[in-house]
Point group: D2
Chain length 355, copies 4
Amino acid sequence: MAGNTFGDIFRVTTYGESHGKGIGAVIDGCPSGIGLSSQDFDSEMGRRRPGLGAFDTPRKEEDRVEILSGVFEGLTTGAPISLFISNKDARSKSYEILKALFRPGHADYTYFKKYGHFDFHGAGRYSGRETAARVAAGVIAGKILDTKGIMVDAYTIELAGIRAESFAMDKIIGSPLYCPDPKAEALMTEALKKAKEEGDSVGGIVEIKVVGCPPGLGEPAFDKLDADLAKAVMSVGAVKGIEIGAGFEAARLKGSENNDQITPKGFKTNRAGGILGGISNGDEIIIRAAVKPIPSIGIEQDTIDREGRPSKIRMTGRFDVCAIPRIISVLEAMVKITIADHYLRFSAMKALKGE
Amino acid sequence: MAGNTFGDIFRVTTYGESHGKGIGAVIDGCPSGIGLSSQDFDSEMGRRRPGLGAFDTPRKEEDRVEILSGVFEGLTTGAPISLFISNKDARSKSYEILKALFRPGHADYTYFKKYGHFDFHGAGRYSGRETAARVAAGVIAGKILDTKGIMVDAYTIELAGIRAESFAMDKIIGSPLYCPDPKAEALMTEALKKAKEEGDSVGGIVEIKVVGCPPGLGEPAFDKLDADLAKAVMSVGAVKGIEIGAGFEAARLKGSENNDQITPKGFKTNRAGGILGGISNGDEIIIRAAVKPIPSIGIEQDTIDREGRPSKIRMTGRFDVCAIPRIISVLEAMVKITIADHYLRFSAMKALKGE
Amino acid sequence: MAGNTFGDIFRVTTYGESHGKGIGAVIDGCPSGIGLSSQDFDSEMGRRRPGLGAFDTPRKEEDRVEILSGVFEGLTTGAPISLFISNKDARSKSYEILKALFRPGHADYTYFKKYGHFDFHGAGRYSGRETAARVAAGVIAGKILDTKGIMVDAYTIELAGIRAESFAMDKIIGSPLYCPDPKAEALMTEALKKAKEEGDSVGGIVEIKVVGCPPGLGEPAFDKLDADLAKAVMSVGAVKGIEIGAGFEAARLKGSENNDQITPKGFKTNRAGGILGGISNGDEIIIRAAVKPIPSIGIEQDTIDREGRPSKIRMTGRFDVCAIPRIISVLEAMVKITIADHYLRFSAMKALKGE
Amino acid sequence: MAGNTFGDIFRVTTYGESHGKGIGAVIDGCPSGIGLSSQDFDSEMGRRRPGLGAFDTPRKEEDRVEILSGVFEGLTTGAPISLFISNKDARSKSYEILKALFRPGHADYTYFKKYGHFDFHGAGRYSGRETAARVAAGVIAGKILDTKGIMVDAYTIELAGIRAESFAMDKIIGSPLYCPDPKAEALMTEALKKAKEEGDSVGGIVEIKVVGCPPGLGEPAFDKLDADLAKAVMSVGAVKGIEIGAGFEAARLKGSENNDQITPKGFKTNRAGGILGGISNGDEIIIRAAVKPIPSIGIEQDTIDREGRPSKIRMTGRFDVCAIPRIISVLEAMVKITIADHYLRFSAMKALKGE
């Protein structure tokens, strides 16, 4: 009922909050025999870590993932895998202001309404920190997909209204913004700089591509592959929209334009984004997520306090200007978890049919 | 694992296929004491029924919902409610062509890949017919919401690229396209007529608005209210994108523009679409769904047959030109089911805290 | 939350009550390709039907199972299977007395306390009638097990304190009491006759044997095979105890006596009842269920009415003297459902490991 | 699918194995506002710890429970509670023998058949160590029950065939065997000593009593309170049977003897064991569990090795002679978890009805 578990066969439960000892994930349903060590998490956890980019907040979290169970002599055993990440830098005091004013665009208001005063402080589940546990779980999902030749990549296609025009996937690696278009990235960097100077923030659009996914993943009614991907992606805090393939553009096309005609070599186009009737069609799966601007800004805004009295708020301290690129690894993780879960469901279904 | 159930406390399981005896839904977890009779379903089922609009396929389904269990002397009892809708017009023979060619844009291909030849015929779960069971379940969800003063309304804001400019909600009732802008609707009707003449089809965008929802619905991690709404809406066949509030537009706004500032009277704007941090904030919840054009068109397209040999296909017979307006009631139903489920979860959580 | 679903991969949801249109089951997760027709249910439904034995109540229910979905041309399709059984003989009026007095040993009191006045009447879920839906679902589970060479048989080993001494399994067929010992059965029949004359009722013990189950079924922690069997069997109304293998007798044995020693040909004994550490060991699985005497008796007893005032009650009309043999098919069904579910889980797990 | 989670609203997921870093439990769904500190676990963990009794194995585990999340300033927050217990004494080498021979009565054989060679070592989930996580989770369940005035107590009513004849509940505290009959306990102690000298082991029967449980807990169909209790208790490794109230004895009683007649002051007897129709009736809930003798014995037995070759095995080292009393705290924990979960379900149901 409390909603801290995601997935059907590959089930991820996360726990932990920013003010406590740490955060973690328990993965129940991971097949045995998959190589896994603590080091496997380092590179993904590093991507999610703040304080790397020029525009990121310099808080130093060193996110080492500890494997508490489910691995023996370097291989998963089929038993639940428990992952734990210590909080190094709880600093709960710096959030004193929260006791007084609701920050516009933040979940302060809704958590206060849902949980009341105490839980609001205590739960701390809406901290971005919870997503570190997802990234860790995503690493294991990624390992399952690796063995099947399925690759998941997320990259920035729009930031501060600047759209990538070229898609050189090899440019993503090494790009601070994970942008496949170096020209666009230069403009995006300028826009980030300008927003920072203004004390403002910006949003963007992340595209996630799944390559190598076989046809057949997804269930007919509610657990369509795109439905579960939509939930997975929308469950990441800053996301306000999600598209598959042509997405909202499909609403403006005619059937003759939007249909992907079929040839013996495959689909001529991929406006479906790799999913038809909720089931993967073997083509690349294309997902786009709209990421809203960071709500913490250095510009004065109207708000109210806990008693409902009007007030002004201007965030000080150092905040990220944009959830991108840090959100990239989280979105990638959620897509990996979803695809891995559906891959296992599909494999199980085939086995049960005797194939 | 097979994904035919949706919801946590208010659990909807659907079954049935277009070629069989009928379709149905079992709702487990509906509170007792809610007035319910067979007649309550008629108006919603009528909205979903084909053959009413000038541009709809004239197949005559008469969808009467039969209550098989869970109601006594006109009130729900708390026991599972079983709803059944007979198939009057199975006509499985008219789908003979499916044995030979994959229809572009349809799920023929993916179902064949997933299930193989036999199940492909038998399952028939990807027929739009399955959504009738959802509409029926949505009527019960709507009854729960009614008692709480929560209203859910879906309407057409774009069709064939024509956007509604005015939003007179009272115009929706009586509008064949459920469009709040009569001028736009006239143009939409023209576009539908033209597409029909061309043997083509069009898509559009449906907005769903939830009015009267209290703050506090939604869970912190995976079961965020917007995440569950995204899954609910994306699980409807023709939907390729979903937005909450400003949606993709939020990605282009600055933090200072996108944040909804707070005053003692409430939020100054509603770019959040009524949801912050995955939890309802008491404002109107605004969801938009991108509906792709109907894939069945009278224009010749390339395809392949079951053996992979190239072929041409041109659909004959009568098909809908647009999934709108029939999809309106389905989207409304899925939103009602999701909100009702989260309302019950929220109420239960408060009760367990002793509030 | 409302608990009307059982199973993990092979999920059975039942609905319906004795006073309504009928009862039913939806099975989600049944593999495709299994032959199934309406006739397949007749013999099992007949076993559960009252009015056959000399000591059974003569109410005439004709329980025909209608397949509403999930079967095409005689084979399951993998889509949810919906089964429905009409109520022919609702006779809600004959239960008028229930409005006034709580019947000792019945669930009247607890349902009234749980649901209050209205739901008490309406829910009607605690009628033995609900078990007909389980028997129907068990038929499908049995079909899955048949293809794997797994047989489930239930039989009476004790009735009214009379214990079967010989176990000629071929005697069960044709035995009105499903007793493997004809001599004991003769005495049991006498005891039933005597109890009937006295207006009293008796209980007994049913043993359920699973033959042909491979080793490996069951999960390590909570979903041990014996734990799920215990839940399955205990969820049948009249059952007050369950044993596996030596059961309570094992508590009196020494380790040297209770351990089943192992030889190249298999286990020397089967005190474990085919389950070790919650996982099947390949030997016969032996389950015993203690069935309490029917609480409806023609002997005056103390009770109270809805307002708590003292009263006397003596049930008139015709009631079963013993839940055996009718409960036999229900217990068999629950064991079949549990074993089929775990078989599918085991097969899926092996497939996911790449075996 | 992998079965490491128990409960519906109060959901307990356990992880960890004897050879790894430790074991743990994540509890999702615990209401907020419950006082909880690390010290709260000490006394229960101490009861489960080996090496205390004269007949227990002297392995020294010091089981301190660390709270990793879900508690703020001493109160639960409603977020998932993560509990962790380090393994101090892994000693995986002492289990070398397992590589060669299957120990009769142990799960070696079934795990090998289920998981194959590798997982068998790695999983280690069938170690009794897993139950420490259950005891920890049970402490939290117990705190919920405390606030409602519900008490759960487990005690030994039979050991090595010696039955307690008197039931002085105050004698349980301080009794090494948790036996309410000091005379019987003296005989049990003798029997334990004798079994130890013979290198043999013994079993027994534990009774668990729930006092103060209100009427109404339990769901009509599959999730009957006794069904869930049966699963909970049977999911503890050494348990081979479970009874409610009169249990197997009820099978030998007549209806007139077994029915608990009702008076304005309550039930005259409690043969139902506090549960009627799967729902608590407000009386004491009485559960009995049959505990088999420890399979590790110092007496030579026949067995086979991994290749199926015949062999002899005689366990050396120090082993417990009886699972009692250590199992007492585990059984108590599982009952507490089940009752707490159903209490929350009942409270939620009432709240949803508007009571």
